[in-house]
């Protein structure tokens, strides 16, 4: 997964999460300059690297998703999290979310939506489209810390699931002949570091084979 390349988390066998982890790089999208300043400060205090852009279009350009430059884009640092305002002129936060989730290169990046309006259908729509969370403005430091912990925890779980399923795979390979050809297929797709959701269903497949 794209995120794994930056994170490189080393999870000890005990599964203890208090290892030193590299900083998250967050792309913050908001058309309001005041809100950009505030979210940037909140994220920096939470030990994140921050890039702010003023629109969904700019965000796509930064990621290299605007079709102009192909996959290279302007950014030289992988994005681990996108935090975007919902109501923006042009591309809304929801439009941006959709484009990210439709992209094979970037759909793994968690997206959090911010809005000053507490509209339940809107929140549901965003979560359904794959948003990680929804923050009500004005965003507080506690919100940012919570999101960061959520993202870090998801990354740690992905790494643990990968290392556990690898161990199980190796054990199966030594003790028993592989029950079906699908297990070797699973192993090669594990190497590709799929999304946390896919990983969970693959580890479920493995336990059903045992």
């Amino acid at each position: 997964m794209a995120v794994g390349e930056v994170m490189r988390m080393e999870i000890p066998a005990s599964g203890d999460l208090s290892v030193t982890s590299p900083e998250l790089h967050v792309l913050a999208v908001d058309d309001s300059i005041v809100d950009r300043k505030v979210i940037e400060r909140l994220l920096r205090i939470s030990a994140c690297k921050v890039t702010t852009v003023e629109s969904g279009t700019r965000a796509l350009q930064y990621l290299g998703l605007d079709g102009d430059k192909g996959a290279s884009g302007l950014n030289d640092l992988k994005v681990n999290l996108i935090v975007t305002d919902y109501s923006m002129p042009g591309l809304t936060g929801y439009d941006l979310l959709k484009k990210i989730k439709e992209s094979s290169a970037f759909r793994e990046i968690p997206v959090v939506i911010m809005s000053s309006e507490n509209i339940l259908p809107r929140i549901e729509q965003c979560l359904k489209e794959g948003a990680e969370d929804f923050l009500l403005k004005p965003v507080k430091l506690a919100d940012v810390k919570r999101i960061k912990e959520l993202i870090m925890r998801n990354e740690a779980e992905d790494c643990k699931t990968i290392s556990h399923s690898n161990k199980r795979k190796l054990a199966e390979g030594i003790d028993t002949p592989s029950p079906s050809s699908s297990s070797s297929h699973d192993y090669s797709s594990v190497k590709d570091f799929p999304s946390s959701k896919r990983m969970k269903s693959e580890s479920e497949n493995l336990s059903s084979l045992l």
């Binding site: 309001s32 005041v34 809100d35 505030v38 909140l42 000053s116 004005p138 507080k140 430091l141």
Partner: protein, 138 residues
């Protein structure tokens, strides 16, 4: 913050002050500067839009949504209240209500600006006082 600011700024302003530290001692002042620059632009746009009749309530509401947003983010409670009222009048298609509320909004905005300018000046001179006192002790 005390009585001087009471009613004009809410807890959000204090939340922003909590985000300041020795490495970023002017964060709130910077945010305030951005706010006043941005809101001056919005006030200008709204002024112009209000001079054109018949009023484009959707456009006005859109400007006010932005204005309300940034006012909320800095904790400008009185300005925020006027923004909310303005939007109500927009939704009701009430031009006179919009015009009246906008005058109030501009007054509150100007008052807040003066108060914050004073507030930051006092802070700065307090800091200088402390520095002077420390230097005199040496």
């Amino acid at each position: 913050m005390g009585k001087f600011m009471q009613g004009y700024l809410d807890e959000q302003f204090m939340e922003l002050e909590e985000l300041q530290d020795d490495a970023n001692p002017n964060f709130v002042e910077e945010v305030a500067a951005s706010y006043f620059k941005d809101s001056a632009r919005l006030i200008n746009n709204i002024d112009q839009a209000l001079r054109r009749g018949p009023l484009d309530f959707n456009r006005l509401d859109s400007y006010m949504h932005q204005f309300k947003g940034s006012s909320t983010s800095i904790g400008a409670s009185k300005v925020k209240t006027e923004c909310t009222m303005f939007r109500e009048y927009c939704r009701a298609g009430n031009a006179e209500g919009c015009l009246r509320t906008f005058q109030e909004l501009k007054k509150e905005h100007a008052t807040l600006r003066k108060k914050l300018e004073h507030y930051f000046q006092v802070q700065a001179s307090d800091q200088l006082c402390v520095i002077n006192q420390l230097q005199n002790m040496c």
